[in-house]
Symmetry: C3
């Protein structure tokens, strides 16, 4: 399938990338990843252009990789620097190299035109390293579903009542409508639920025994960044909706890696403004959140299975579009447009290149 | 593939259907099944029309099912009765509901036009609850083959000599030709083998130490009902072939559920006129029969494997048609004609509907 | 895919073929194999022409096979000699029979025109039973890759440095170019590496502590025979390259059976001229060689996986052709030409047959 390519996608947790060769799959491409001697991360196409042996089966020689089959050796820019037994290295003996950056504990890869790779486009959350806030690594879920199905889920406050009754949802949530705000490459879906019991997670960690005002802001940046702002305050204590930091507030950040048409990696961490000195609490909260995200995983994998069965059968089911689908539908359209635009630019580039040749 | 739809197929054993949601596959369709508060069985399409989440992952609320993803709720007629967070329920928010009946310990589903569902079409065997007869539940085999291949097998007395030498067959059976009688939707394949040793099963349970006259009547009703009448009497003791009940007689009833192109469920029980007060014998006889049917399963699954390999390879093997294939071939033709006729009727219905619109 | 058919392929080790029916796959064809009462090996198409039941599920009756489903019986020429329950045996009731020969401990099958099968075409190595030499059975590796990929590997001395550093290769080997000699149906790839450390295997079993002159001659006969001649002598002690037998010499013989597009069997044994009376050494040497061949297996299976992923994805990777690819490319061309020629002859045969009919 087609993906937005001019974007940063998380490769994985930076701390897990060292001097051994590891293989990663991003947008259906196999990538070999390792840390160079200067500590920077290198990422190359994981396929030797000779016979397609994965370079990740080879050996690291300084900052270069020696193929494990016949020893062709590529430096970390992807250029072949040695072919055992022959002196001439053909000019096209290269593998693709990908820009990589590190931020927030993750290594990020740029899958598109390297000239456009820009650190400014990395996921950003100002609270991440602000005073009064605590950022805590979560984990990675591998979900056997299309990444867009997880994107739907992360723009959908309505499911929490039914999928997460013991952690993130309460019956009260079922009937409060949501607000959608659309930017060019971003969407915010939000709602406040006033004077209602706290959700189980906030009752437990925020210590709310009485009713609260609570909010969800699903902040999405296309194609694959989510910062879900959720929090609570005692009923009536925050008048200005922009002063949510005065309450108990947490950002659950989800950074997605589309692996292939039917697999996605969900990397996540949280950033909170309460009990920020209680490191002991981190593991328990992380476990509770992980349990909740696994509840989504069960549903998403079953839907993937049903969709594949439907496709194989060739008899499409009838679908109903609900009010809650507005933001997910906008997200799909946004991504389609980004892909189309990339193709248009690529087309122009190719045409311009042909033009130059003709007039030269 | 195409199936006869206006027919009753066994869903499963009625005693296994309770107040929990269970998923069944019939004719490639996913169906969620449960018992209503009044004890009747309900069967709905197992796919929420919103995002395709299986309803069987949801919750039973009285007689309605609440989808486990966003809570759309369907009553047992398939009508949506609630969409959390929105007041208007679109008219097309329905899932298909299927007629279900119970008989002979099985729950039966009607896969076609509900208006045509009629209890009179259920499998019927007058001996089932007649005095002097004992009906004993067998079990369910899941066989990884096309249901037509099992249908072939159940119209084919010739295989018992080779597949079931220790239970249902003897060498004497190999050379006695069969008689075929054809009805519009039924076939009977039968033969008597006279003055020969009893088959192992009847020697064991019928107590025959000397030669017998024995018979097989394979009674088939299209598409998926089989009542195999088999029995024995001491040689020469039954002159009138219609008085088989004077001998030791047993009906092995096989009721098939096509699951998909390469899977069939074989539900079976037996009804016998001997040792009818010996409940202790039931389990042992059932175990022996189950062993025999598993001998067919091995052959049928291997043939399915070979047929799929042949199809993938694209080089069809040459086939030989034997005399014993007459009834199976007639069965295939019967089913094809039933499918064609259903399509013709459906076509006329659609045309009539269009006609009405035009003239309205 | 297409294969050279007029060729001997190893079926398996002759000692493993007895009076039970065994199933083999060669060139995507299923074959049932057994030893006749006179000790000769018979091989028939493993598919009953009635319903496709594998004959290998049936029973051996003397030299004939009785199908396990309805008892059709085929003699070892493939002719049907019995159909239970019917007297007339149609003329086309036959299964294909394949010529089989035994040599060097292997049973060999001829997959093409039986009239062309000739013992003279079997794999031959004069040292196999010559005085002063010892032949030792190796084993069979099942590798999940296309057989041509293993053929590439066995014409490629360059990989040993990188794939087999602890057994067959040394760094010195990396830079010595190879010589290629081409026949009509054969290729020899060879090189001498002079005054260098022995490879680990020869250091261990040949007892070389100082530098040696060593050689590799990869002797290939299309489509599937390899005799890899490798050996060493103390530096400078063999002047005439044709007198290699004066050194420590070993033939590693690889006889391949293409199973299907993504599976090959590698049958192998070795023949050596050193320590020929030390039977105790055989097992250890065989284990070391087996370990080395398993190193190839890992690489070849990964490449197969990558090639299939590439094909499924529909985006071919760019390939680089190296100097070491000359012999493998010649091999591919040789096999393509043999297949084309067989098709041309088959076409002429068909045309001649039609011609005869017309003029008759
Ligand atoms: S496959 Fe990498 S050098 Fe040959
Ligand atoms: S999938 Fe069932 S309500 Fe959304
Ligand atoms: S399948 Fe072999 S005789 Fe019927």
């Amino acid at each position: 399938m087609k993906y937005v390519r001019n974007a940063w996608y998380p490769l994985g947790w930076a701390e897990e990338i060292g001097r051994e060769l590891s293989r990663h799959m991003v947008l259906e491409e196999a990538i070999v990843v390792y840390r160079r001697e200067d500590g920077k991360i290198a990422a190359l196409q994981d396929a030797c252009p000779h016979r397609l042996a994965p370079l990740s089966l080879g050996r690291l020689k300084g900052d270069a990789i020696e193929c494990g089959y016949h020893g062709m050796t590529f430096d970390c820019s992807g250029k072949c620097v040695r072919i055992p037994g022959q002196d001439i290295i053909p000019g096209n003996a290269v593998v693709r190299a990908y820009p990589v950056e590190e931020k927030y504990g993750l290594a990020w890869i740029w899958m598109g035109d390297s000239a456009l790779a820009d650190r400014a486009g990395l996921f950003h959350l100002e609270q991440y390293d602000a005073p009064g806030w605590r950022a805590v690594k979560g984990g990675t879920l591998r979900i056997d579903c299309n990444y867009l199905s997880l994107c739907d889920n992360l723009l959908d406050p309505a499911h929490v009542t039914f999928v997460h009754p013991s952690t993130l949802g309460t019956p009260a949530g079922a009937t409060v409508p949501v607000n959608n705000e659309y930017g060019e490459r971003s969407i915010i879906v939000w709602r406040w639920i006033r004077d209602a019991p706290a959700i189980p997670l906030f009752a437990k960690y925020g210590g709310f025994a009485t009713n609260v005002d609570r909010w969800h802001y699903y902040n999405y940046t296309a194609p694959c960044f989510y910062a879900i702002d959720m929090g609570s305050c005692l009923t009536g204590t925050i008048a200005d909706m922009d002063k949510r930091h005065e309450g108990v507030q947490m950002f659950a950040c989800h950074l997605l890696t589309p692996v292939d048409e039917s697999t996605v990696l969900q990397h996540w961490f949280h950033v909170r403004n309460f009990r920020t000195d209680e490191a002991a609490m981190d593991a328990e909260l992380t476990r509770d959140m992980d349990r909740a995200f696994n509840e989504d995983k069960v549903v998403l994998q079953r839907i993937q299975f049903e969709e594949e069965r439907e496709a194989a059968r060739g008899k499409p089911y009838k679908r109903i579009i609900l009010g809650i689908d507005a933001a997910p539908r906008r997200m799909h359209k946004m991504i389609d447009q980004m892909i189309e635009q990339e193709e248009r630019v690529a087309g122009h580039g190719a045409m311009a290149a042909r033009q130059e040749k003709v007039t030269a």
